[in-house]
Symmetry: C4
Subunit: 215 residues, 4 copies
């Protein structure tokens, strides 16, 4: 995309972020976590901008040209392309966590089913798994990892408000589910975001398995 | 296949359709949705003709030579090859939806099991999933997506009549299941048909998972 | 394997059979149906000989050199290699079905679990699935496909006797399970044997899914 | 890693062990058994040293440079790299079984879920499966394979003591689970360790399936 970038953003920087996003998207698509062109991915470019997937593209075939620039209010910058409908949830992460560099939103079957199953509780409480230690800030299997489940809506400001309310109440937050929809998580670099996503998928799948076995 | 095409059909057009069908078939076979040479795939060539898979071929190894031409009554055109037994279900879609360009029929385990489980209700009602939006015409997770389940038969005119009766009663139709068998869906191009199929597989799998977990 | 073949067997014929077995083994291993060096595969060479996998090799890395010749009593011919422990079950198929050209024995999780679940009935009865038509001789979903489940034993003659008794009672037989163990099936060529195996895996998996969902 | 090896260890020997570990790790990661940088792997180098994975690396991308040398007390030798937290469990195996050459610790979903489900019994008892024969020392499906489940802890000496107590009571041990965590198994070479791991994953998965089906 011959996108006229703002002068403050080196083209190489944008290209590197776009390539990293596209590579992650292709790998997550291969894992089956982005069915039917769903899911969206972003990386911070600077304090005022993020690179994010253009809406509706097949995530298994993503390239640099499927990534666009937005400002932290989620508005397209230097392009007529339409950003993912849920861009506001990405920029919220970058605004609230200055150290966040990558945000991943996927739709795996496990994530979607877990969100439906736990929606009535408003939260999934995960404990007793060694793999909780893969989430930054968790150093033992003995703690409890809380993943809130917010109601789904097509109106993004409602979801933004749910996330803000959770954070403003002082609860820690590494990731959240949206009912019938999927998961959001993030990290201080793409590797950490990927590790968080992979661990959360595993932990949710294990919790569902335990319920199937104990029913 | 050195197939004598009707003069009205440019050889390049037929070849392009055949290649697109074969590519889709190989990818769907890799996903495990076409066990034991089952499943069939087609694309519209013009208002009077469609390209469709020849019966009984291994879908994982399909090439252009495994695709033949049929007219909209399902008769072979310019070849002695035998079209898929269910050709009549494909040409029905092209007759009833002038905008339909591709029809996909697969046999995944999820599709087959869901068809058996919901056969007694005659329909699967899917609601509350964000991914319903991947089906053209659905713009929110709040609607209900109805996928009818028709009784299986080896006599195609009965199935054609079931589909016609559903449509003639004014119900919307994006896809249907056949009991103990598989799914049919379509789109205005191959990409849309693929997106529909992928979304339906996901939604049916999620519904089965919820039942396993709540039982 | 520089195997001194009997003069009556053209080296090219043995090599072709060995290559076909090795190729099938690698593909079935990739599908996860041959865990931990289990499973064995053979093809008829002539009325008196078959080519069969040598015992204990990793099926995911099989080559022509992992295949040996046996006579129809299961004795090694022209080699000191040890044939699979269950060679007698392969040669039984070639003796009882003159048209059989390939025998496949795998150990998928679905096959093993189904064998345990249905062992007390002595048979799995499969009906109502379109994919039954993939088994030669079955032309409709309305018939019943019976897959007997024989008790496991480390003493092969007992298993041979179970198979003989089933056949001698006049029951049709396309495949059988051994309790806690795996499946045997065959075909008039490797493609038919593969189609039978793939269809049986699918049908058993669907039957297990239905039980999970209806429990 | 330009690691100054002790004079007694030929560089080619260390490199061969490191390459074998990295190759096994990549294959096990591909199978999904090492989520989110978890799991660790080692091989004996000589009676006093083992090669083991450095902590926290992505197991899907492991190379020779991600492997370090430790002594049999688990201390880094000739490097500042930090060995896996659970190194003490590896070196215990090499101390207690002089013939052990490779130790594998993975975290598959099946292993983790089975460990939670059977933790209250302290052991998984596996019987009636042909694939038990893939575990060295087991020659029939009629025996019982016992896999103890030890409580998880972040304090390795407690786990070492649990394993010692099991062995000192005279029970045979081919593998053990840690609650909410994963599995340890080993072999007289990497191929045997891999065969053990693959068979144990299969057997645990089958046992979980039987429970789901009989519930």
């Amino acid at each position: 995309m011959s996108q006229p970038l703002p002068d403050s953003i080196p083209p190489d920087l944008f290209a590197a972020r776009a390539d990293a996003i596209a590579a992650a998207a292709r790998e997550l698509a291969l894992a089956g976590w982005t069915p039917a062109t769903s899911s969206n991915f972003s990386m911070r470019v600077d304090s005022e901008h993020a690179a994010i997937t253009i809406s509706g593209r097949d995530k298994g075939k993503l390239t640099r040209d499927d990534i666009m620039l937005v400002d932290m209010q989620g508005r397209a910058v230097g392009t007529d392309a339409r950003p993912s409908a849920e861009t506001a949830l990405h920029t919220q992460v970058y605004r609230r966590w200055p150290e966040a560099q990558a945000v991943l939103h996927t739709h795996s079957r496990t994530q979607s089913v877990a969100s439906r199953l736990f929606a009535k509780h408003g939260v999934v409480r995960v404990e007793g798994w060694e793999l909780q230690k893969a989430i930054t800030g968790h150093t033992t299997h003995e703690g409890v990892l809380e993943i809130p489940v917010f109601p789904n809506t097509q109106h993004m400001p409602e979801l933004v408000a749910h996330v803000d309310a959770w954070l403003d109440s002082g609860n820690p937050l590494s990731a959240y589910l949206i009912d019938g929809h999927g998961i959001y998580t993030w990290g201080r670099d793409m590797a950490e975001a990927r590790r968080h996503l992979e661990a959360l998928e595993f932990l949710l799948a294990c919790e569902l398995d335990l319920r199937r076995l104990k029913a």
